[in-house]
Amino acid sequence: MSSGQNERREMTGAEMVVQALKDNGVKHVFGYPGGAVLPIYDEIFQQDEVEHILVRHEQGAGHAAEGYARSTGKAGVMLVTSGPGATNAVTPLQDALMDSIPLVCLTGQVPTSLIGSDAFQECDTIGITRPCTKHNWLVKDVNELAAIIHEAFHVATTGRPGPVVVDIPKDVQFAKGIYVPPQTAPRTSYQPKVQGDLEKIKAAVELMANAKRPILYTGGGVINSGPEASHLLRELVDLTGFPITSTLMGLGAYPASGKNWMGMLGMHGTYEANMAMHDCDVMVCIGARFDDRITGRLTAFSPNSKKIHIDIDPSSINKNVHTDVPIIGDVGRVLEDLVRLWRATARADKKALHPWWEQIAKWRARDSLAYKMNHDVIMPQYAVQRLYALTKDMDTYITTEVGQHQMWAAQHYHFEKPNRWMTSGGLGTMGYGLPAALGVQIAHPDALVIDIAGDASVQMTMQEMSAAVQHEAPIKIFILNNQYMGMVRQWQQLLHGNRLSHSYTEAMPDFVKLAEAYGGHGIRCEKPDELDDAIREMISVKKPVIFDCRVATLANCFPMIPSGKAHNEMLLPDEATDEAVANAIDAKGRELV
């Protein structure tokens, strides 16, 4: 926070923007200049408290800010110009909305006198971003600018976090007005409920204490709530002895090495996690939202369980699945009460859970993440396993793109801490991982930041290699290169008679040369026995690396709940013959995504 000398001082709108960023604790802004934000860029030029990271495309700025936000727990900030600058920001805004990432996007706008005249680089930014933000503002009066930016940070970071847009016309940036510092009184209509209802929490404790086949199903809300929530979650698991699984977004909240960990659940989750979800008698959903990737067919979702749902967003309760005990509040606060009440009133009957754990052990013995090792070709799962083995003891952050590689990363890379795993879950944005890695590296300059990528996804935002080189961010782009859009190809095999319509990349770039062209370092590896040395080389190079890991081209990602099927109808790797794969999805399931 800045000192009081800036309170209620006259300054230009552009100065206010930079001052407001400082006053909200912002150290880094990801952006791209243009005509309608030049005054703000001029102010950025004249100071060095806020560092600007120049990207190569506004989408990259957004994902970098998202990666920054997820790995730090603070708001990510992006600054773009009007028109195409703003429209290019739409994908990361929607991505942040679906994954509840605090993202503050400042956009330039044509001067107020030209709004509505189809001026050069004009677009209706507020109209376009209204459905993909938590809230947005068009600033028409410079005297409101500071308060709006402060409110924007407040809205983005509190309650269920999300993206916000502040659209600032160029004349407002030049105009002079009075700057006001951040204040504590937010608007009255926005009051997120953070403290859970104690009676409901009591009911939850009672239900949990009498459970015979309980399960904790946790999500990104635990991570969003802060490190204390993850700490309390671990305490709750120790106290209760319950098995725990997590969504893609929640990985790391409970350590993968923890003895109660069952692995990720959902479409490509483990057999034991999904079977336990199906057969449990009490489900405790903590900061997750019963997404369709998680539930499978809703009519067959965990039919015999009582469900407790802890969520800060009331609209998440009962949206997809009926909840018996809804608890609205911040995960951290609710867990604090829950743990306290459990200690005071309940006693874990861990003996009573024995049969349940025995059943889970049987499911686990199916070894649902198994794959056939190959000594000539690198299996993608093997590549992730080796990457994990060689980097797990370092200060490592992992980002991903979207597709098969993402699921293999989630299955085979194991996370011990929260905020170490950055991936696009809800929107499924190919091209997320590379810029996100840049954002993470800027926040953690000395850490090892790896984007586990696919060859198709990574080409969507490859240009940010240039930004990484410029900002000396030694990110590692570890491409599982199978020359296909692997997940598209897998679904074509599942649904469309293996007719591989446009899912093969015939003109693949030479990723090694590409890395060198950008001023980075390129590595190619094609043999399993050369993989370890190649990974070590990647780790030791102190500049951006593109690692072209050539993997088996037609490997499928298993286990899998085919569309329209239930948790207990998983397709396991050892049962996935070509025929089983071709017939896995019935006519009803075909319509689903």
Partner: protein, 190 residues
């Protein structure tokens, strides 16, 4: 067995609808600021909810508050979602499902009124008949010359529907309706 609710907008929305849709009237108190109506309407179109009627006006000038009245139709589960989704909008202060509230008060439905302007043109017997019927409906004449009337009518939507239907053969030219304004009976505020 847990009763499974219908998801809204879920990719797995394949189970048959089991709940019956109902028509409810919602009152939404919002900050009167630019774009707030677009946020509300965008929510309805974006999530596939119905709007049967929508009325909006500033109600408390000093506090910059507007009241939006929405008549919508959906299953109880969808109606609950609509309420929660509306509450997520930052400038929304309160959402009250007046229909649910009226049931809690032991009433069938909230007070709902609509105003309509109805233009009828014609001469001779039809014109006389129109005036007579308007009187029966307690519609007042707010503009007229020898060839037309403009009636102002207030009442429940069904009454206005009926009035319009009757005027149709009598030279109905133009209709303008305000949409429903509603509140609950009794001394309590929303």
């Amino acid at each position: 067995m847990n009763a499974q609710l219908q998801p809204t907008g879920s990719a797995y929305f394949i189970a048959k609808e089991t709940e019956k849709p109902e028509t409810h009237t919602l009152s939404v108190l919002v900050d009167n600021e630019p774009g707030v109506l677009a946020r509300v309407i965008g929510l309805f179109s974006g999530r596939g909810y119905n709007i049967e009627s929508l009325t909006v006006s500033e109600t408390e000038h000093e506090k910059h508050l507007s009241r939006i009245t929405i008549v919508t139709r959906g299953t109880p589960h969808v109606l609950e979602q609509i309420k929660h989704q509306l509450e997520r909008i930052v400038p929304v202060h309160r959402v009250v499902d007046l229909t649910v509230r009226s049931h809690e008060l032991g009433q069938e439905r909230p007070l709902e009124r609509e105003l309509a302007l109805v233009k009828v043109a014609g001469t001779g017997e039809g014109r006389v008949e129109a005036l007579r019927l308007a009187d029966a409906f307690r519609a007042s004449v707010i503009d007229a010359n020898t060839e037309h009337f403009i009636f102002e009518i207030t009442g429940k939507g069904s009454k206005i529907d009926q009035f319009i239907a009757i005027m149709k053969p009598l030279g109905l030219v133009e209709i303008c309706r305000t949409g429903v304004a509603a509140m609950n009976r009794g001394p309590q505020g929303m």
